[in-house]
């Protein structure tokens, strides 16, 4: 009895999930606009999403067909590379020479931050009053200076 009680909801759940799984296979993984924002129109030299040329329209139809087949964005981009070569990709690839497109800005930013930090440190050191024996703050005023100071203060003593 207990086993039957557990089996019924389990089978019901499986029956409900089975059609959902089948539907998911045909569910679009991406959209034309999403892919179009990451690939180029090879003839126009602009992002495909901005292009309206006859070639761009054919390219969008090609993408729409693959989207309808349930292909992922990466699969569609791979198909476009087969058709047009790697130049169709708007974003550089994460390997080979294209990797420099990602690394160079990071390295340049790091160098700029280090240079700025060194510059700020030098500037602060230059702005600090010198310390040590030769410093006016480090030496006590002479007797003559003290007398002159007292005299000056006395003149302003109201």
């Amino acid at each position: 009895m207990r086993a039957r009680t557990l089996l019924v909801p389990l089978l019901t759940a499986l029956a409900l999930l089975a059609p959902a799984g089948g539907a998911m296979a045909a569910t679009p993984q991406t959209s034309v606009s999403e892919v179009s924002s990451e690939v180029m129109c090879p003839v126009c030299g602009t992002l495909l999403e901005l292009a309206e040329s006859p070639q761009a329209k054919r390219q969008k139809v090609f993408i729409a067909r693959l989207v309808a087949q349930g292909r992922t964005k990466e699969q569609i981009k791979d198909a476009l590379v087969v058709e047009y070569g790697t130049e169709v990709l708007a974003l550089p690839q994460g390997s080979g020479f294209d990797l420099s497109a990602y690394l160079v800005p990071v390295i340049a930013f790091a160098i700029a931050v280090i240079a700025l930090a060194i510059g700020v440190l030098r500037w602060r050191r230059a702005g600090d009053p010198p310390r040590g024996e030769g410093s006016p703050l480090a030496t006590a005023p002479s007797d003559a200076d003290s007398e002159r100071l007292d005299a000056d203060l006395a003149r302003y003593d109201l």
Binding site: Q55, Q59, F62, V82, E83, Y84, G85, E87
Partner: protein
């Protein structure tokens, strides 16, 4: 010269060098008459394998860059096919190069217009770049030694082919 000055000069030279390189590479124009036609291998549009302009050395070749989305290409395709049918033999052929086009669309174009001359595929446009095309269609008549003898930026008509291309072929056929 101090180290700082040397670095500044080097930086300026690097920037000037980059700008010069950019201008030169952008301004590299196409073929001139009498120059050798590029002969990089390209995949065939149909049937697999690859081909090249060099495969036709010893024959006259009218290299025709086209694309299925190009309206003038549709207008000139029948003229090219007609010329091919009248002149194709051991000495001459039209060679189509489908450039920056979807391969399926290209094959449909060939079928639609019943094109019988050989077709290569230039999906990334590299061959078009080597020829220095500015668009499609463009036509280059290559002589048996592989030199460009005539180039037409734009579509050709049957009348143009008869008047300017046919006389150059062996026997001056028309």
């Amino acid at each position: 010269m101090s180290a700082r000055s040397a670095i500044a000069v080097l930086a300026v030279l690097a920037v000037v060098g980059l700008l010069t390189f950019g201008l030169l590479s952008k301004g590299s124009s196409g073929l001139a008459l009498g120059e050798a036609a590029p002969a990089s291998p390209l995949p065939r549009l149909e049937g697999g394998g690859s081909g090249s302009v060099a495969d036709y050395r010893g024959r006259w070749v009218l290299v025709n860059f086209w694309a299925s989305w190009c309206v003038p290409c549709r207008e000139e395709a029948p003229a090219l096919e007609s010329f091919q049918r009248r002149h194709a033999d051991a000495d001459f052929t039209v060679l189509g190069i489908d450039s920056r086009d979807l391969s399926g669309d290209g094959r449909a174009f060939v079928e639609r217009f019943g094109l019988t001359y050989p077709q290569l595929r230039d999906g990334d446009g590299d061959a078009a770049g080597e020829f220095g095309t500015t668009g499609v269609p463009e036509n280059f008549l290559v002589d048996p030694r592989g030199k460009v003898r005539l180039l037409v930026r734009g579509p050709v008509s049957e009348e143009y082919l008869d008047r300017y291309v046919a006389p150059l072929l062996p026997g001056g056929r028309s």
